[in-house]
């Protein structure tokens, strides 16, 4: 059953990614699509942390910041190829998550939220204050990945938007596939067990701190890769990527779509990414609407949009 669901989820996601461009009226929509996929990727990471393991983080933008600035700094200072810089960022984020996760994950609820929040803000502060290295609040340029030129030389001409739409779509699919695999793996089951009850999970032999840490590290790597992709496709990055509001947006996307499901995560990311695009006409109301959406969904659809809609549909079908 769960195995079949996995392939349905992946199939739906792949179809959406492949077919949506048919309806794009202009090249601009490829950019928006790529942005949705990047956000969805970091949110899939949070699904593992919040949805599977039941832990919260208000600091994951910090990892996105590490990933983004790895792509900005490593090619310039270490002479690393941008693609390797993505990897470097992921490793640094993973190690960082392992180091701070160990003491932090003993905490629960609000305390965990605030500890992770503290971490995220410290990262964004370092990025903002170390002007000599990061250019401070104005941000810095990011080297080109070079892959698009390579494809062009091979005779495949893509616009910047199309190229990044494709790359981010593929990376999101891989990320979703890995997350869905994890769901049914022994680790995934252990995470879901400790989500239900840590004591019960421990009594049946789940190494609770270890599984929590694993979920934390995995989700940090997702956020880091998403941050890297964002930096590479914009060719430019500011410390906002690591800011508190970005962390909040990520968690909101996860919970908005339905925090247990990978498909829901993508859905939540799509809505919250599209919202400002739709509201550009009413830029003044953007904050107000974003806040209202957060509050109303949490009150009236606590399971998230997708599961609530699915339940309603199923209820009608039966």
């Amino acid at each position: 059953m769960a195995g079949r669901n996995k392939w349905i989820s992946l199939g739906v996601l792949a179809l959406l990614i492949a077919l949506l461009p048919l309806f794009f009226p202009s090249g601009y929509y490829y950019r928006v699509g790529a942005l949705i996929f990047v956000n969805a990727l970091s949110v899939v990471g949070l699904v593992i942390l919040i949805g599977y393991a039941g832990q919260i983080s208000l600091g994951h933008a910090g990892f996105a910041g590490i990933g983004a600035y790895a792509c900005a700094l490593a090619p310039e200072h270490l002479g690393l190829h941008p693609a390797l810089a993505v990897l470097l960022g992921a490793v640094v984020s993973g190690v960082m998550a392992a180091l701070i996760g160990k003491p932090i994950l003993r905490l629960k609820g609000y305390y965990l939220a605030v500890a992770t929040l503290g971490f995220g803000i410290l990262v964004s502060m370092v990025l903002t204050n170390e002007r000599a290295l990061t250019g401070g609040p104005d941000g810095m340029n990011v080297a080109d990945l070079g892959l698009r030129d390579l494809l062009r030389d091979m005779g495949w001409r893509l616009s910047g938007g199309e190229f990044w739409y494709m790359i981010c779509g593929v990376v999101l699919l891989i990320g979703a596939w890995l997350a869905l695999n994890l769901f049914d793996s022994p680790s995934g089951r252990a995470m879901r067990a400790l989500h239900g009850s840590e004591v019960a999970a421990a009594t049946v032999g789940v190494d609770v701190p270890r599984q929590k840490l694993r979920a934390f590290v995995i989700s940090a790597v997702y956020a880091s890769v998403a941050g890297s992709l964002l930096a590479l496709q914009n060719g430019y990055i500011t410390p906002d990527v690591a800011g508190f509001m970005h962390s909040v947006e990520m968690v909101t996307m996860a919970v908005l779509g339905g925090v247990g499901s990978v498909l829901g995560a993508t859905f939540g990311a799509a809505i919250l990414t599209l919202l400002p695009q739709v509201l550009t006409v009413f830029a003044e109301y953007e904050q107000l609407v974003l806040g209202l959406v957060m509050v109303l969904v949490m009150i009236f659809l606590p399971q998230g949009l997708l599961p609530s809609i699915a339940r309603r549909l199923r209820g009608r079908g039966e």
Partner: protein, 290 residues
């Protein structure tokens, strides 16, 4: 020595504001187990409403009173419209709700008023007072005095009045409080109103020194929370001391180490407290029921 005293003066002033935010946190946390991330917005509202009422021609004390009353009503509305309907929701949802509410308040403020920084005149002039080679603004004395007055007032309220004791009882055990006839719904309303009023009061006191704009609330909420945690969540004495300590840490960091990383102090304190003594300075050790 003069420099140290000067840093301590400015630290105590900022710290008093953190303490007031932390006290507001504490009241709501005790009554409802909700950590209200919108707490900083109350401070912002207190300052903003006073500014605009004052500029509209109201005398300053009346403008301040109006600001405190309106903010208090907004606090009650927050409870009625967003917190009560979500009773029993998981922590993640409650965090998103209060953060969402804070974004709504910010967005509405920027629509109703504007995005500029504002101030109104200090209560007793801007001539600094010289103390032992350092100087302190009269308005700083107002801020510090205000924080102490609120603390004493709360202490009297919680220990000497029946309503205050009802709030304490609800904080202690909601169901038991209901069983002895305490209207816990009313206690929640009261707590949100009181907490918002205290925040607004802080905003009124500090605006002549630090200015106010629609987006000053986020940092205040986070620092107030750090202060509350430093003192021990849920403990008013801890909130006061935590706030003053945090303010002084910040001022000393800015003075002796780096003014850029002054803002980092609060978060290093949060992490340090959580790692070393999660119960804070005055908090009681909690045991977990299985």
């Amino acid at each position: 020595m003069d420099a140290l005293l000067q840093f301590l003066f400015s630290g105590l002033t900022v710290g008093a504001v953190y303490a007031l935010v932390a006290l507001g946190f504490t009241i709501i946390y005790n009554a409802s187990d909700v950590v209200n991330f919108a707490q900083g917005e109350f401070v912002m509202l207190g300052g903003m409403i006073t500014v605009f009422a004052f500029e509209a021609g109201l005398p300053l004390p009346l403008a301040a009173l109006l600001a405190i009353l309106v903010t208090s009503a907004i606090g009650v509305a927050l409870n009625k419209l967003a917190i009560e309907p979500a009773r029993g929701a998981p922590v993640v949802s409650l965090i998103i709700i209060t953060i969402g509410a804070s974004i709504v308040i910010r967005g509405a403020t920027q629509l109703v008023f504007d995005k500029q920084l504002h101030r109104f005149p200090s209560f007793s002039g801007d001539d600094p007072i010289h103390v032992l080679g350092a100087t302190i603004l009269p308005q700083s004395l107002w801020v510090i005095g205000g924080a102490l007055a609120v603390f004493v007032g709360l202490w009297i309220f919680f220990t000497r009045t029946l309503t205050g004791k009802a709030v304490l009882a609800t904080a202690n055990n909601r169901v038991a409080a209901q069983l002895v006839g305490i209207n816990t719904g009313w206690v929640m309303t009261l707590s949100f109103g009181l907490s918002a009023a205290i925040g607004a009061f802080a905003g009124v006191l500090v605006t002549p020194i630090t200015l106010v704009g629609y987006d000053v609330g986020v940092a205040l909420a986070l620092k107030g929370f750090a202060a509350a945690m430093l003192g021990g969540m849920g403990n008013p004495k801890g909130a006061l001391l935590g706030g003053l300590l945090l303010g002084c840490f910040e001022a000393l960091t800015a003075g002796y180490l780096s003014s850029q990383y002054k803002e980092a102090v609060a978060f290093i304190v949060i992490l340090g407290v959580l790692f070393v003594m999660p119960q804070g300075l005055f908090g009681s050790k909690s045991t977990e029921r299985v």
